[in-house]
Symmetry: C3
């Protein structure tokens, strides 16, 4: 579990930086940047924990989240001109982040005896709701609704976890396998600009 | 209670379709359509349950919600060119949906020993919050704030329920009476384009 | 505690009026005005209570909130041409409101044995989340992210409370001292148009 905790913290750090960069771009003040970094980083787990009644919720039960986010915001302000161009590094962090968040969410859902499909929804909420809240607060249509393969990668990884779970594979190994699937799918999707299908010509004549 | 459950499921189905149609119109991808359908359908009951601490919340405690929503999304994709023009049918479904959601909310509020007015707010939340979340996520001002009589119909039906409740009328009968009032008020309002009053000339010179 | 309760009610009243004025300006109907007034007034405490699992949440546990908000909405409709120009009075009410909400939030957080920093976040949530929800529902970027010193004043007052708390000062006195700091900081900030720093030239060449 300790390796997973480390990756969880790394994912939180990456999400906080990505939130801070968005807020800086929107010309928010220091405080606005801090709030957006915060909700981006912990919004997913917070949503999950409120919905499944898992109190204390993520960042209330573990003060490290607040420290990590404060650190990420300071780092972003100090090194923003260096961080922003690091698209590939940021993409890697972010992708590892969603893969870990997804599986932590699925595991937590199962540990609360939820139906596997509900656990799957909890995994995806953990991964995507931070970004959704960030986008709602910055008055954007959430990226996840019209961007590249993202939530679907989480879905695939979560389903693999659920399918292999009854086989009594070592828990950490299963975690790593499923997380890798998310990372691989998303990386390939972005590399080849794959997108989910959508209805191009709509039924309303618009 | 079983008839009410059937209508609840029908209302959930109708709400999911209406959410899916909005998301398709906004050119969301398959996943975005699924999420919008989901929050539109269960967002009201979910908000109510989180606020009154009724765990497991609606769709976590009953896996049927997820099946119904998945079905509704598939149906919408397959038959969208046939569904979209069915404005009257959709309107009927939607109206039955809000009437049932309102009264289920009020009943649940009362069963949690809430003040009748708080139960009324819970009824209205159940009916309108799904649409509000849908509109927030699609970056629109929630329709309910500036459209035809909608929440007020729910309010009226909920109040009738609360007023008649102490009379020991048969619970199912009372449910049907109050729900009918919501359906009738909304139908008349839409038929005659009735709107709630609003301040036309504002006090800010704009 | 009774004086604090009175100020809490006064702050709720002020927040409800400010929400109602925004909704009227946006040409919402009567019902939309009521909802916006409601979420502006109780949204902060509601968010806090859901996150820390303090049930019944603020307005569910105390029916007075609903009465106060209804009164505020009626007063706003009746006297809007007189209230809207009273900028200084409204500002005073609003400022007293956030100062009281902040400290009630911090106190509640501490009484739930939260880490002092988490209690501080709860204080600020109590003060600002009502306005954030109002802005999200009216499709605006929340003011707090790009306006004058606001949340930072709450932060300062909350920190003073936390620092002096271990000294066993009389609880009411400590409350008044910390609240005054918030009022003073915000008033000075607005008077001299102080703003938090923000990054002017961004790193994305925009």
């Amino acid at each position: 579990m300790s390796i997973i905790y480390v990756i969880d913290i790394a994912g939180t750090f990456a999400f906080a930086i990505s939130g801070a960069l968005v807020a800086i771009r929107k010309k928010f003040d220091v405080f606005g940047v801090l709030i957006i970094a915060f909700v981006t980083a912990v919004g997913g787990g917070m949503t999950r924990d409120v919905l499944i009644n898992a109190h204390p919720i993520n960042w209330i039960g573990d003060i490290n989240y607040i420290w990590i986010i404060l650190t990420a915001v300071v780092v972003t302000f100090l090194f923003r001109s260096k961080i922003a161009p690091l698209r590939k590094t940021m993409f890697l962090f972010d992708t590892i982040g969603i893969s870990v968040f997804t599986l932590i969410g699925v595991q937590k859902g199962l540990s609360f005896d939820l139906h596997p499909f509900v656990a799957l929804v909890m995994g995806m909420s953990s991964a995507v709701m931070g970004g959704v809240i960030r986008d709602v607060l910055t008055n954007e249509i959430p990226l996840i609704f019209h961007r590249e393969i993202y939530a679907s990668a989480c879905l695939a990884g979560g389903m693999v976890y659920l399918l292999l779970h009854p086989l009594n594979i070592n828990e950490d190994l299963l975690f790593v396998i499923s997380a890798s699937i998310i990372v691989v799918i998303r990386t390939i999707a972005v590399q080849y600009k794959l997108e989910l299908p959508r209805i191009k010509k709509d039924v309303f004549g618009k």
